[in-house]
Amino acid sequence: MGKIKKLLPGGIWFLDPPKDISLDGYRIDKVIQYTDFVITLYFAIVVIALVFFIWRYNSRKNPKASYDHGNQKKHLIMTVAMGLLVFFSIDVVIETMSFKDLKEAFWNFPKGKDVVRIEVMPQQYAWNFRYAGEDELFGTDDDIVPSQNIMHIPVNTPIVIQLTTYDVIHSFYLPNFRIKQDATPGMVTAMWFQAMETGQYEIACAELCGNSHFKMKGYLTVESEEDFDSWLGSLEPEGTKDELDDWGAEEVEGVPEFWAWAWKELK
């Protein structure tokens, strides 16, 4: 696939999307750009045909229509060929691109030592994050839980997150990474991503979750490995804190089930 030159900022959509700072976001941008290109082409053909027909076949210029049911074999072959052309030039291409990206990136979860694992538990209307701590196990005394809505990740490191929630459905949306993943009560979902640039970015909730859905905002800091380690080190482990501080009494009831779950191994 050749590079498609953008004529306007944001291509046919005029406005640029948020800056992509992720390892794999370019894949999504590429599928979108290819789709932009082909749909512009096909739509242009339709519009040109429409304009031509209006000019050439209006009743003043063409008072007598031709009597043609378009039901001969050649017509059938022509329209079916057009349908197949659309299917192979658009659908098959984007499907191939998309499947490849899913296989190579979005559904290809990284394994091994260098991966940072984070449990994310949104609630109405805030984000809770949990890091495993030294022992790399969740639900232990050395787990680290930063203040609500604060997430830090190291740059150039694969981040795997697992999500669930205990109230209503939320969706973890990282515009600068081009991804989102729903958090649904009763099930644990997962996604992974990797940042390529340090900086401050925003996390939004993309699934309607109630009247303050619009300000359910998180703050993501992407920093160097050292900065990340020192930030994590500066936080008090969960076990030494009074949980009620963060939670309020009634939430504590549900803790083992909806929060600090044992990491689900991915197949």
């Binding site: 339709v46 349908g83 499907e95 899913l102 109230d167 459905i169 549900g254």
Partner: protein, 567 residues
């Protein structure tokens, strides 16, 4: 002819034509209601937290100092979506034109079950009353979105009062009315076609309405079952869709509701658009004075889409964490739809090709469907593709896309149908000048609104947010959001002109001749007003619905009741 009382003739009528008109007025009322809500939504998105001006009925928000609060905003988009889909598009396209056209175009005296038809309308009416009443509940109407996903839509989800339960009840009642209508339409088409009116001689409008009814009959029961379970969860404390902290004991599964909702919800998209496809296919032929190009292929394509539409619902759920295998399967099946869609789309262009195009208002509206449905269909590709949907799901891009396919295509199809059949329904012509002004005003502003919704969505703005300025990455979109709002307000103004035109033409419009568009189908064969029972004698049908410019006829059209003798 026996005389009927006012109540039997105009209110509890069993005449399909009267019921069709009742659905039309009912749908137009809700179209205005839902449209007004859209204006308020746009106001808030352009000027978050600023008082609603008097000309947008700011007094409605007196209690909150003229400001729409977050709860109010959520109620607005919930009700806007629900009303437009179930109480505006459904009654206008399916209720009004399904009722009016099916018996007339197939040569029947009425629907197969006229009393059921009457009950269907009044059940529909009741459902609308329940929905409207929910606006006056002390804690307000539903605010969980038109999808009403649990657990948000359940007690404990954070939405106070009975709004959600009223929502569920009213949509369930609406579903019951729709099922009655669907059964009636299906049986009517199968059993009551006039002699000679074979399936392959039915107008494509009837094909579209018939296929829609088949989808309704199969899938409305699915959502009805889901809604009844939701209602039990809401009112009796069952836990079909509850999990997490709100679940006592085992609980249920919130995701199950999404599956049930979209098993219905995706066919629903086609339920709404199929009548338009049929009507557009017919009107293009009439106003091009040329037979519909590839009639059989078009109806086979529409039937194929009916089948495919029932197995693609998962593309609404790519981000729920479904298994990769399912995601791929749903993507593949969804993309298959583009084959039959592009085939009949090319057939539309084929009808225009070498025709003799008459740009009467119905034709303008019809041709604009080619434009808006083209854009709507093509932009669906981004959402059918798993990876691009991961980014675009739940953004304004999706909102713009489905407004093109549903709002724009269905509205223009509806405007076309109203303009075309107005003389048959009311004996007068819709004023052509006002119609043309309305057409151009609507066409331009509507594109400015819906296209730019996709633009801000591509730039990252997610849906259903009360105040986009909360986020830094959405700051650059503020101007565009203001622009969309002004375009939407102008769009709204043109609809006031439309309403004026409708009412004015009803009273003072030019009295129509029997067949002003020189159309071939059966509904144009009798004088206005069409009597109860429609046909003096059931007509004999000799050929298909699009005999235009046949060289063996003297004029450029041959009614279906006239035999064409080849020379």
């Amino acid at each position: 002819m026996h005389s009927e009382s006012f109540w039997r003739k105009d209110i509890f009528s069993t005449d399909h034509k009267t019921i069709g008109k009742q659905f039309l007025f009912f749908g137009i009322f809700f179209l205005l209601f839902g449209g007004f809500q859209a204006m308020l939504l746009r106001w808030q998105l352009a000027y978050p937290g600023q008082p609603v001006p008097w000309w947008l009925m700011g007094f409605l928000y007196e209690g909150t100092g003229g400001i729409i609060d977050p709860d109010g905003f959520n109620r607005l988009f919930t009700m806007h979506g629900t009303i437009m889909i179930f109480w505006a598009i459904t009654p206008i396209l399916i209720g009004a034109f399904g009722n009016f056209l099916i018996p007339l175009q197939i040569g029947a005296r009425d629907m197969a079950f006229p009393t059921l038809n009457m009950i269907s309308f009044w059940t529909f009416f009741l459902s609308g009353v329940v929905l409207l009443l929910s606006h006056f509940l002390p804690a307000g109407s539903a605010s969980g979105g038109w999808t009403s996903y649990p657990p948000l839509s359940l007690p404990g989800g954070g939405i106070p009062g009975l709004g959600q339960a009223f929502w569920t009840l009213s949509v369930t009642l609406m579903g019951a009315a729709t099922m009655m209508g669907a059964i009636n339409y299906i049986i009517t088409v199968i059993r009551l076609r006039a002699p000679g009116m074979t399936y392959w001689r039915m107008p494509l409008s009837v094909w579209g309405l018939w296929l829609t009814s088949i989808l309704n009959a199969i899938f409305v029961p699915v959502i009805a079952a889901g809604l009844i379970m939701l209602l039990l969860d809401q009112l009796l404390g069952t836990q079909f869709f509850v999990a997490g902290r709100l679940a006592a004991g085992g609980g249920g599964d919130p995701l199950l509701f999404q599956h049930v909702f979209w098993i219905f919800g995706h066919p629903e998209v086609y339920i709404l658009i199929l009548p338009v496809w049929g009507i557009v296919s017919d009107l293009l032929a009439i106003y091009s004075r040329k037979p519909a190009f590839g009639y059989k292929v078009t109806s086979i394509c529409m039937s194929t889409i009916v089948v495919l539409s029932s197995i693609v619902w998962g593309h609404h759920m790519y981000t729920t964490g479904m298994s990769p295998l399912l995601g791929k399967a749903f993507m593949f099946l969804t993309l298959l739809i583009s084959i039959p869609s592009s085939i009949f789309f090319f057939n539309w262009l084929g009808t225009l090709w070498r025709g003799s195009l008459h740009f009467d208002p119905p034709m303008l509206y019809t041709m604009s469907v080619i434009w808006v449905f083209g854009l709507g269909g093509l932009t669906g590709l981004y959402n059918a593709t798993v990876t691009s949907d991961i980014y675009l799901h739940d953004t304004m891009f999706v909102v713009g896309h489905f407004h093109y396919t549903l709002a724009a295509s269905v509205l223009f199809g509806g405007f076309a149908a109203i303009a075309h059949w107005f003389p048959r329904m009311f004996g007068r012509m819709l004023n052509p000048l006002m119609s043309k002004i309305h057409f151009w005003g609507t066409f331009i502003t509507l594109n400015l609104v819906f296209f730019n919704m996709m633009v801000v969505g591509y730039a990252g703005q997610h849906r259903r947010i009360y105040n986009p300025s909360e986020y830094e990455f959405l700051q650059p979109l503020a101007d565009m959001n203001v622009f969309i709002t002004y375009a939407a307000l102008v769009l709204g103004l043109f609809q006031i002109l439309y309403l004026f035109n409708f009412v004015w033409s009803l009273v003072k419009g030019k009295v129509a001749e029997t067949n002003p568009w020189r159309a071939t189908t059966l509904e144009w064969t009798m004088d206005y007003p069409i009597p109860h029972g429609n046909f003096g004698e059931i007509p004999q049908v000799y050929h298909g619905p699009h005999e235009y410019s046949n060289p063996n006829t003297d004029q450029d059209w041959a009614p279906q009741t006239v035999e064409i003798k080849s020379s």
